[in-house]
Amino acid sequence: MAFGVPQLLAILPELFVVGMAMAILVLDLYLRPSQRGITYTLTILTLLGGAALAAYLIPAQSQTILYQHFIHDRLSAVLKVVLLGMTAVAVVYARRSLQRLAMFRGELFILVLLATAGMMLMASAGTLIMAYLGLELMSLSLYTMIAMDRDSVPATEGGLKYFILGSLASGIFLYGLSLLFGASGSLELAVIAEHAATEGVDDPLLVMGTVFVAIGLAFKLGAVPFHMWVPDVYHGSPNPVTIILASTAKLAAFALLMRLMVDGLGAMAPQWQEIAAGLAVLSLIVGNVVAMAQTDIKRLLAYSAIAHVGFLLIGMAAAPAASDGYMAPVLYMIMYTLMGAAGFGLIAIMHKRGAAGERIDDYAGLSQTHPWMAFMMLILMFAMAGVPPTGGFMAKLYIFQAAVQADMIGLAVFGVVMAVVGAFYYLRVVKTMYFDAPEAAMTPDRDGLARGVLSVNALAVLALGIMPGPLVDLCLYAVQGL
């Protein structure tokens, strides 16, 4: 049963994306620069096609195939749909801004597709090897994408910094994986899970492995104290790449976290729950407090991303004891992916006579010059702050509900207080857009598609606060297979 049509069907979305990446790679060689639009369109269609396939192939029950390397279950399928869909959205946002940076090249789109393939493998990893391969495929593609803006010093610095620190984290992660392998004698998550259930804390190798893996994942998620790269990399990266870094790459890291910590080390939950709670507290403090001092909007959102990881980790810490299980963190992460993609997407779409405007002050008076864009940003800022009636509030509500249910009321209270601290800097952006006099001439790209998709994306964040039912049900459905 190792290899056959059912197995191929399960990995069809991955095969499709990788196959199309190869095809586009070849096709792009024959295109003139003026025809690059074809590559762009094909990339979006590939991502959307992959999302459709993943949605169509959602399995009724969990399967582990291809010599246990590949888990095909509801969670992975749902996360892949979001990953592919939101990457497509990110590519749509990126068009004009890539052209401005002279990055509208075939290689970039190939790298996007390969990074996405890596993300998909992370969501489906059934063995440690697959987990590591998926992670590295994504990371290497991202490093290159950041550094593609060759003439920009911040981008080069950001790419290099991400590469060096990312390699260090990968090393720690890999070391953790090797300890897990040493402890259990197997690369398969299922075997490791059994071993963890029988041995648990009595096996020091397993405990050490858990800690190292947790550190590696915390780095990829950008949780304090492993967050140092986040502001510099987000800030230095070309705007279009930041969209992917902040949204789908983060979701993929979360998917990997679910695979390793829940599927593999679920029995070690009492241990990593404490780690998650500690990281959550630190992330909330550092993310929210440092964000207040930022004058650059990308850095501000980078620190806000760190704070959001804090909320996510509250959910992870509480999830094993909550009645809805991992629904709350999954919901939170998907909601953040929507908000992050739209937020950074808007920054990528806005420009100041061809130059990216990245200071918060560049947005002064936006509500008078471009009221619709300002309104979209308003929705996103209040959503990130967790103010009803936006989706950001609903996501936080479920996180706090899980925390209270898990008897972590202290953590919940700390979280809500930090949400208030966070509200301050989001309000500052709103203040700049709505209360200050118009200053610099920031304009959105003349790209109807990107603006339309951005509007849909931001309005979806609002609508999910008014009608969260469908997304909540989807997340519940996704975690029921665990």
Binding site: P371, P388, V404, V417, F424, G469
Partner: protein
Amino acid sequence: MEQLPLLSLSIWLPILGGVLVLALGPGRDDMARWLALVVSGAVFVVTCLLLVGFDTGTAGIQFGESRPWITSLDIHYKLGVDGISVLLVLLTSLSTVVAVAASWEAIQTRVPMYMAAFLIMEGFMIGVFSALDAVLFYVFWEAMLIPMFLIIGIWGGTNRIYATIKFFLYTFFGSVLMLVALVYLYTQAGTFDILELHDVQLSLGEQVWIFLAFLIAFAVKVPMWPVHTWLPDAHVEAPTAGSVILAAIMLKMGGYGFVRFSLPITPDASHELAWLVIALSLIAVVYIGLVALVQEDMKKLIAYSSIAHMGFVTLGYFMFNPQGIAGGLIQMISHGFVSAALFLCVGVMYDRLHTRLISDYGGVVNVMPVFAALFMLFGMANAGLPGTSGFVGEFMVILGAFKVEPWFGVIAATTLVLGAAYTLWLYKRVIFGRITSEHVANDMPPMSRREKWVFAPLAALVLIMGIWPAPFLEIMDSSVLNLVEQVNQSKL
């Protein structure tokens, strides 16, 4: 007629109307004004229908609506009003009409957005008073911060940005702790239905924590001393209509929260910690009354007087007897009329001279006699003169307080002296005397017809409620008795 979902209508009509006004886009100022007036007028009519169909014989929920909203947490879109909330809904819709009419000429920039903000906020506020699901309540409660944040921040005075951010963060901080309390209640009761939460059994320890979380949320909103400092700033910087809504409605939400959540859900903790609330209320009445006396800015003076009057409301609630609670509620309604009218009075003068400092005025009666008479009426109501609405509530609360502990009554009664002192002194300095400057002589034309119409309903209501408060009391009577029974029944 019976089938019409009046509450949903009065929530969504203004919100949709607001979106429509917003969609008019910049430039169509007059159309935005008229549309806003028509929509808010229509909402007022709808809420009047609530009153017409209201059955005063029962403490139960009327005009109830319920449908599942978020099934996984058993959250419902559940609405309904009782004798307490129906009056507040009506107060909201009336105040919004007044606010729209009062901003007719004072607001000249970004008019559609301004009007839309008020309409959308009206929908949220009515939602707060009619929500019977805790999450729905919380959503409305928080959502209304957004339009108010923009109103103060865009159309406010010179120091508006500091004021509006302070306002937002203060109230946001207060409410998030309430969210944790609500979620905790959910884990205990398995429901967010407010009426079912009234019956959930809680130990004293749990009740105390929940009570404190609620207290922070509602005390910030009311606002009670010492978390009142956002209010003077917000009032001073807000445009006139913003102050009207702040004073008339937003403060009432805190008071409403006490009767809807704190008293019935945590009755034992309410008794246990009544001393705290009573102490804070009396401090507000006396100390803030003294603070009001020395203000040089008219809006600030009225803002402090609002805090003192709201101290009366909370004092009344924590007497746990029908006189105290009904008195507190009457005081809330009356204060809604009176403080709104006083802010409008300041607005009328500010529109003419563009200053709020008392020292810039003097002898206004010589140039604006009708205005002086109206200001006199509302000033008297603010001081609690018999025959005005201000007297009824204060009298009932003092009566309720005397029943519990005479000293509370005695201290509370000082408000009659202090209120008269700061109001009359303000009145004397601004209205009477000789004309102090040529600005007053030349730049203060008599009130326009529109301005008079804005004041007319408020003046009428202040007098009606003062002379014949029975209908108001009758509407809330059964609900108040029911509440008194709930709060005096131990859950232990």
